[in-house]
């Protein structure tokens, strides 16, 4: 493959092979002035992933540029691995995958098939994909991509060029994330990129703090539809199964409500029994049981049949967890 093409997809095995064939030691990559450019681009990749959520746009005017781009990728990976933050690994993998998607849309069908093969996504020559691979990689959280809306027949479904590119984006993301997870970066990395690693860790920490602050004061107005439904059911005295109570109470607890506040909300119920309810709440919030249960994810809520799918809104479709909904809603109101 052309070295300019490989510069767009530095994670492909053929690009890795280029690095191997150059036969340079890690030491040289980290210190030799020849690789200064590669190190700079590597730093840029990581910063862009953190700040912009997508990498790329580095000039490739010559063969040397292309080679430096290819070398920058393993450097960036080593930096990401030594930051050692699972959230950031995911973010970086996504940023690289998004860049690849931009390019893939303009590539030939054969090229897409080749990338698919390397990622072990079984696509035939007519761009037909087996549904199991589709489910692993397609962004099925958005309605348009849900399997139920796809032309499935005999286990296979046809995609157009762009759709396949999008599925490959996720496959790339998954592959890179797994590679990063299993990577043990050489300790020398933390010395060479000490500043960068520290800066990234600080930024991540700050973001976490900001998110916590954004949760702000507990507010019923920011509740996702599922929680509003559960709360309304309890307040009107409807029969709510145990998992429903558990879901609601653990959620209210997580957004910072204490037992008294939760009791206040439940008091509207016609068959309200304060002491019994208090015991139940404190069991879930950890006062009685000693275990502070975390609220269930959207996946679990759906499994239990507690997700009011007809009431889902735009935020619901973006999130995996009711707490994320709550956070986003909080951000919008400011």
């Amino acid at each position: 493959m052309d070295i300019y093409v490989l510069a767009r997809y530095p994670f492909l095995s053929e690009a890795k092979e280029v690095v191997r064939r150059e036969n340079v030691r890690t030491e040289e990559i980290l210190h030799d002035p020849i690789y200064e450019r590669a190190r700079d681009i590597g730093r840029q990749r990581v910063t862009d992933a953190l700040e912009e959520g997508v990498v790329g746009g580095y000039p490739v005017a010559s063969e040397t540029d292309a080679l430096m781009n290819i070398f920058s990728y393993p450097i960036a990976r080593m930096i990401v691995a030594s930051v050692g933050h699972p959230y950031f690994r995911g973010r970086y993998a996504l940023a690289e995958a998004k860049r690849a998607y931009e390019f893939l849309q303009g590539e030939s069908r054969d090229f897409l098939l080749q990338v698919a093969r390397e990622l072990e996504v079984a696509v035939d020559d007519d761009l037909r994909l087996h549904f199991a691979d589709y489910l692993r990689h397609a962004p099925t959280r958005s309605q348009r991509w849900k399997l139920v809306n796809m032309p499935l027949s005999q286990g296979w479904l046809s995609l157009d060029h762009r759709e396949l590119a999008r599925v490959l984006q996720n496959a790339i993301q998954h592959r890179l994330f797994e590679e990063l997870r299993d990577m043990r970066p050489p300790s020398e990395i933390s010395n060479v990129f000490r500043e960068e690693v520290t800066a990234i860790r600080n930024t991540l920490q700050q973001r976490e703090m900001r998110e916590k602050a954004e949760m702000g004061e507990a507010s019923v107005a920011k509740l996702p539809p599922c929680m509003r439904m559960l709360l309304a059911a309890i307040q009107t005295g409807a029969n709510v199964p145990h998992v429903g109570r558990f879901t609601l109470v653990s959620f209210l607890n997580a957004i910072g409500m204490d037992t008294e506040e939760i009791l206040g909300l439940f008091a509207a119920s016609p068959d309200f029994d304060r002491e019994r309810t208090r015991y139940q709440i404190e069991h879930i919030t950890g006062k009685v049981s000693g275990t502070d249960y975390t609220p269930p994810s959207c996946a679990s809520i759906k499994t239990w049949g507690l997700c009011p799918t007809d009431k889902m809104d735009a935020i619901c479709r973006r999130v995996n967890h009711p707490l994320s909904y709550y956070r986003i809603k909080g951000r919008r109101r400011k």
């Binding site: 087996h130 199991a132 479904l157 998992v243 996946a299």
Partner: protein, 383 residues
């Protein structure tokens, strides 16, 4: 103390006919002994003989195995078990069917079987599972199970399995794009639109809906007027007047146009579509507390074992025989040796093609019926 029912189970488990799950040594087993509520979990077996001997020694009222297979199936926690994959399991139960409450036991079973036939159409047609990877079992109780053992789905996670469930139940279906208004003519203020529907041979739900719409209107056309009107007024928002308008506009030509994806002027279909979709979908809604198909580690009744509340066997249903399968004949294990019992509640049921209509009080009935009545707590055996 051994009860009469337990004794019957003991005799069966001395020579049971078990269908061993594939990779059976990698499965977790769990059982509920007679007279107990509590489930004993985390059992494992190495050989077929181990499982046979477990049944013979313990004589469980209920026995289950895990849909998942594990590195260490008898480890006490999920993490230690080491999840390797899981069959895809569909559990169709009368409890999940709307309106099943008013049905008798045989009617309930027949209704669930119809859902299973619909499900199989999805699994074989849309998902393309082959006969070798599909097995249907009567649950021994109030439903049917379908096990899918295709290697390509065994490693799917719970999010992905939920997509399969959503497909089969029609949840999240984009109904807007199924019926689209298209402008066919526009001049000045005059706009003429035509409603377009999918073609019957399109893949996926589009073709399914198309076929259901055509089938429905064809059946209206074929039915006597009275019946057709009655069918139509069952839809929400369609009164006797609208029903008549629809019926009178219905012609073979119109249905021919439907086959070509043309709906013309027919605003009522938008009201009818959701109902027609529901008919094509499978009712698979688990109770919120219950594990559903998306679960990657659920327990399922061991095929060939007996159900403690009925005495019926968890019976394999060959795919080609599902129409003729009658659980109250084919899943009956016990013989017709007479058993004297006291019935608490009047019961009418037909088993092994024999009809029974029993009033409360003393009776002598065949052992297979006695097992069902005793298991369901409706009778006690006279000692």
């Amino acid at each position: 103390m051994t009860t009469w029912l337990q004794e019957q189970f003991r005799r069966y488990y001395a020579r049971p006919r078990i269908h061993f799950p594939d990779r059976f040594p990698r499965r977790e087993y769990a059982l509920i002994p007679f007279g107990e509520q509590h489930m004993q979990r985390h059992l494992a077996v190495k050989t077929r003989e181990d499982l046979q001997s477990l049944l013979e020694r313990r004589v469980p009222a209920h026995i289950y195995y895990s849909s998942a297979y594990y590195e260490t199936p008898d480890a006490p926690t999920m993490t230690e078990k080491g999840w390797m994959g899981a069959d895809l399991i569909f559990d169709l139960d009368a409890d999940h069917l709307p309106g099943a409450g008013g049905l008798s036991y045989p009617e309930m079973l027949a209704a669930v079987k119809q859902e299973m036939i619909k499900l199989l159409d999805f699994l074989q047609g849309d998902f393309g599972f082959g006969e070798a990877d599909l097995a249907v079992y009567f649950s021994g109780g109030r439903g049917y199970h379908c096990h899918v053992t295709d290697a390509r789905v065994q490693t799917l996670g719970s999010q992905e399995r939920r997509e399969i469930v959503d497909y089969i139940t029609g949840r999240g279906l984009d109904t807007q794009s199924l019926l689209q208004e298209r402008t066919v003519y526009r001049q000045g203020n005059i706009t003429q639109t035509s409603l377009e529907m999918p073609l019957p041979d399109e893949p996926g739900w589009r073709g399914k809906i198309s076929r259901e719409i055509i089938r429905f209107f064809q059946s209206l056309l074929d039915a006597p007027e009275e019946e057709a009107l009655q069918q139509l007024t069952q839809f929400e928002g369609i009164g006797p007047k609208t029903a008549r308008t629809i019926y009178e506009g219905l012609t073979p030509q119109r249905i021919q146009r439907m086959r070509q994806g043309k709906f013309d002027q027919f605003p009522y279909i938008k009201k009818m579509a959701p109902h027609l979709i529901r008919r094509s979908a499978v009712e698979l809604r688990g109770e919120p507390d219950e594990p559903v198909t998306a679960d990657v580690k659920r327990l399922i009744r061991l095929p060939g074992s007996l159900h403690g509340k009925t005495g019926l066997r968890v019976e394999h249903v060959p795919l080609g025989d599902i129409d003729q399968f009658d659980p109250l004949v084919d899943a009956v294990v016990f013989d017709d040796s007479p058993v004297a019992l006291t019935l608490k509640k009047g019961t009418a049921i037909s088993m092994k093609n024999r009809s029974f209509d029993l009033q409360p009080g003393s009776h002598t009935v065949p052992a297979y019926l006695a097992a069902l009545l005793v298991g369901r707590g409706l009778a006690t055996v006279d000692s």
